[in-house]
Symmetry: C2
Subunit: 141 residues, 2 copies
DNA sequence: GTAGAACCTGGAGTGTGCTCCAGGTCAAGC
DNA sequence: GCTTGACCTGGAGCACACTCCAGGTTCTAC
C-alpha cells in the first residue's frame, strides 16, 4: 500500500495547509509565516491559488522543526534554507552550520544536566525542610 | 578564611550593582528589572539610595538563573518568589513547583537528545554527500 | 447553483524578556 | 569643592516569533 498504482488524478499525497498544520502541530498562520520568511520555498498551488504540500515539503518542515526545537533562530534557519535553495554547491556550508549547531546543542544539553543536578539538590533540601516541619506524614511505618 | 573576624565597618561583602552584574552575567538593567518584577525582594540601599547586594541576594539570584536557564518563565519565577516571600508555610508549594519543573526539564532533555541523534544522522548524510562530490579531499592515504 | 467552510493576501497587533533613555543624584579621587 | 563615573527612577522602545484581522476568493457537498 505504499506506491502500487497512481492515485486518482495526480494530487497523490499532496496536503492542504490544514492537514499539514495538523501533522506538524504548527498553525496555518505559522506555516504561511514560514513561507513568507523564506524558510520554505514557495509551496505549489492549485489553479485556485491554494497551497498543496508535497511529501518533500513536509520532510523539510519536519527538519526545520528539529532545528527550531533545538534552539536555532529563524534568522539562522533562513540562512540554512537560503543555502539549500542554492543547491549542491552549498553542501559544505550547510554541513558546517549543522556541525556548529550540533556542538552548541551538546553544550546546552550538558548545561541543562548540570542545572538538573543542582535542582535535584534543591529539591532534596526542600524535602528535608518539609520533613522537619511535618515529621511522620510521609506514610505509616 | 570563611568567617574569621568581621570585616572593617559592617558592609561585609555587600556588592554594588556593577559587581553583581559582573558576577552573574546579568546587566544592571536586568537586575533592576528583576527587582521591579518582584523576582528579587527589594535589595538593601545605602543612605544615598544605591543598591548593596548581600551574599543571600546573590545566592537567590544564582538560583533564579538556574531556573531561567532551565526554561522557567518570568511569570513562574514570580510565583515562586512570591511563595518564598510568604515564608515557611509555602515550602510544600515550592517543592511541588520545583518537582514539576524538574520533570519538564527531564522531558526537554530527552527531546533534545532525540533531536541531537536525528541531527547526527543528517550530518552523516551531508558528509556522505560531500564525499561523493569531492572524493579524496578528506586527507591523504 | 448555492451555502458554508476553508483558503488567500498584506499588514497590524501581541507577549516575552529584556534594553535604552532622559534627567537627575551620589560617591571617590584630586 | 569639583569633576567624573557610577548609580537612581519611570517609562518608552525593541527583537523575536508568532498571531490575528479584514476583506476577498475557492472548494466541496448538497
Amino acid at each position: 500500500m505504499t506506491s502500487g498504482q497512481p492515485l486518482p488524478q495526480d494530487r497523490q499525497q499532496s496536503l492542504t495547509i490544514a492537514q499539514v498544520a495538523e501533522r506538524t502541530g504548527l498553525t496555518h498562520d505559522t506555516l504561511r509565516y514560514y513561507e513568507k520568511a523564506g524558510l520554505i520555498e514557495r509551496v505549489g498551488r492549485t489553479t485556485g491559488n491554494q497551497r498543496r504540500y508535497q511529501a518533500a515539503d513536509l520532510a523539510w518542515l519536519e527538519f526545520l522543526l528539529r532545528l527550531r526545537e533545538t534552539g536555532m533562530s529563524i534568522a539562522d534557519m533562513q540562512r540554512f534554507a537560503g543555502l539549500r535553495a542554492r543547491g549542491d554547491e552549498t553542501v559544505a556550508d550547510r554541513l558546517s552550520m549543522l556541525r556548529e549547531h550540533r556542538a552548541e546543542l551538546a553544550e546546552r544539553i550538558r548545561a541543562l544536566r548540570r542545572n538538573a543536578a543542582a535542582l535535584d539538590d534543591k529539591i532534596d533540601h526542600y524535602e528535608r525542610l518539609l520533613d522537619e516541619r511535618q515529621p511522620g506524614t510521609d506514610g505509616p511505618t
